[in-house]
Symmetry: C2
Subunit: 401 residues, 2 copies
């Protein structure tokens, strides 16, 4: 029996688990499609709860809360990948469509599961091993050299759960704390890339240009679209890889394939099966944003054009900085937004409404243009001003006359 | 005493009176600015009530309802212009900032007030007179020829309250029904244009390119940006006129100046002091949309860039058509959206979530491109399909290979 349509809009209902900025921006895209996104949020101060009409409060690990938000929804999808697989299987067993399915999603939840699947598929990835003892790590390091990258299979994000270890003693202490880990060869990385693809249940796929993601302390700081200087061959290879993975795993919705670019080619780092920080630029930079596309895909609507709207788009995250400190005495948030708008009338703001804390993703800005250096400088200076209340003097000089 | 900031976001709060599609799209823009738009809606099935988190229910003519929604808001603004002036003055007297102010807004509420003000300012407008009797109309017609256009000073929209009368008998019957009317010369109109400007309390203004608005049965059907073939001189004159009016009336927020283009120049038809149907194209077609700009203006934030994102943008309204009829047996809404997306992957949908009724503005679509005829054909065909379930065979042929 198909789920009922929304009583007022006569359209299907999408329920999203998680109330963060991804749900907030998905809701923003949903407004245009006639949708009223339903959100499961942990509290009223979460980004999406501040803007969505149909918010249910509860924990994503609580099956009853999941059942309640799924009730009457056409499809359940995700703002994050932390929902237990057995809960999702229980929803499916009760007749709810879950997109991506738990069997696909586990590849974004568990790095060991991903490594095995990519290995079976013959896709390019760093050398890896499952390690449970210091001896396992030593064997791996002998084959692939120290330092070795150890990762917790589950629960890591934004650099958390990733450790570069230089010897057996460090490895032993991590294994004691975390149990079984994923060991990976530390690759000779040139830079990080991301290839995003959307896939519908029908099997339609749509790819955006491959982007460069610039990390700072393990957290995404900037995204440059398209990745500067990336050869057409390598870009096509990354897009084809993303499509192959989406097809093989049966992904429904957005898939971000995070990649290491090395002198020899590309290697898969990890996957996200939801809208992803590396695709925020698509809101202004592409004809169809990743958020709208995620909704189209999970609703099994045909996908939209992914053509870029300008030659270059750069997204810069605003991470809680000096201005988020408790003893901050500079301009308050409202005043900083004021100055930001005065200084950069063509840089687009996305502010998530969160309480400001150091290191937290509070918002992002996107700049468009023709020249990558100019566009990047503009986006980064604007984001830095919002985070730290500092205007780069060189930039100010250039633009204040 | 300034209004308190939002307890979670630490940003000012905007309250919008009216829960229609303009409030819905303003909320969508508000999401990016970190705002949680507060909306006064008449019921839970209104467009904005279906998507906004902070919705109060009540009537815009009820001062208590207005006081409740204004409480703690930094500024009160409008989705429509039907709020009584004395209620707005009461809000202002109680310390609430109202944008636009009641003294400005009355020029969008009352066409006689507008005509007098434009006359005093020496701005171009059709010949007009206030008429209370058939004799008044006859005097006017003797000077300016039959037919004469009679308009109710207040409450008209989308062609309602506008009558073309051919003789004294018709005029007398209208005067009996409506009381005092505005008589206007029927001008030799080439086409209708719209010039939009945003103005902040600080006095900053921003204009978009002047557009052509195509009406059908008095209702906006299409908007073409920029107006095809409009001379630079006339476009500049229209923009300067809009800025002069905004300044003179002290408008805060968006102002749309609806214009008649005649062989001799432009004449002011009427004003709207809110986001307007003639500016929906700015969501995709301009760097800053009219909805974001309205929020920036009423918050006294600096205004954003109004540069176009493509050489041509065309918006087509989806008015409830054949598919909104009770006995409709063609594809349901969800299926029509499906086909729309398959057929026009690069035309952007904005669906308002309303109950479908004939003639009702249910949504709009926007197409971008280089060639005005091609872009217009694409937008119009897509809107027609959504309204009537009919694909123009010529268009389908052209694109289905």
């Amino acid at each position: 029996m198909p789920a009922p349509l929304h009583p007022h809009t006569a359209l299907p209902v999408v329920a999203m688990i998680g109330g963060g900025q991804l749900a907030r921006m998905t809701h923003q895209a949903a407004v245009a499609l006639g949708q009223s996104l339903r959100v499961l949020a942990a509290g009223p101060d979460e980004s999406a709860a501040l803007v969505a009409a149909d918010v249910r409060f509860g924990d994503h690990r609580d099956l009853d809360a999941l059942r309640a938000v799924a009730g009457g929804a056409t499809v359940v999808t995700f703002d994050h990948e932390h929902v237990p697989t057995d809960h999702l299987e229980a929803l499916e067993a009760a007749g709810t469509r879950v997109a991506p399915s738990p069997g696909a999603l586990v590849h974004a939840q568990d790095k060991l599961v991903l490594r095995r699947a990519l290995g079976e598929a013959g896709e390019p990835q760093p050398a890896w091993a499952e390690v449970s003892s210091a001896a396992d790590v030593e064997v791996f390091a002998t084959a692939h050299r120290w330092p070795v990258v150890l990762k917790t299979p589950r629960g890591g994000y934004d650099g958390k759960g990733v450790f570069v270890v230089r010897d057996v003693v460090e490895a032993a202490s991590l294994l004691e704390r975390h149990g079984t880990l994923l060991a990976e060869q530390r690759v000779a990385m040139v830079r990080e890339l991301s290839a995003q693809v959307a896939r519908s249940p029908f099997g339609q796929v749509a790819v955006w240009p491959v982007v460069e993601t610039v990390q700072r302390d393990g957290v995404c700081a900037e995204v440059i679209a398209p990745a500067p200087g990336l050869s057409e061959e390598r870009a096509a290879a990354a897009q084809e890889l993303a499509v192959r993975i989406a097809d093989r795993l049966g992904v429904v919705g957005m898939l971000a394939v995070e990649l290491f670019e090395t002198p020899d080619g590309i290697l898969v780092n990890e996957l996200a099966m939801r809208p992803h920080n590396s695709g925020h630029w698509t809101i202004e930079g592409a004809r169809t944003s990743q958020f709208e596309q995620h909704l189209r895909a999970v609703l099994d609507y045909p996908l939209g054009s992914t053509a870029m709207t300008a030659p270059v788009a750069v997204m810069a995250n605003v991470l809680g900085g000096a201005a988020a400190a408790e003893d901050w005495s500079g301009p308050a948030l409202d005043e900083r937004i004021h100055h930001f708008m005065a200084h950069w009338p063509d840089v687009k703001l996305h502010w998530y409404g969160k309480t400001q804390r150091r290191g937290r993703k509070l918002g992002h800005v996107t700049a468009l243009g023709d020249d990558v250096a100019e566009v990047r400088a503009r986006a980064v200076a604007a984001a830095r001003y919002l985070a730290d209340g500092v205007v780069d003097p060189a930039f100010a000089f250039e633009h204040d006359h």
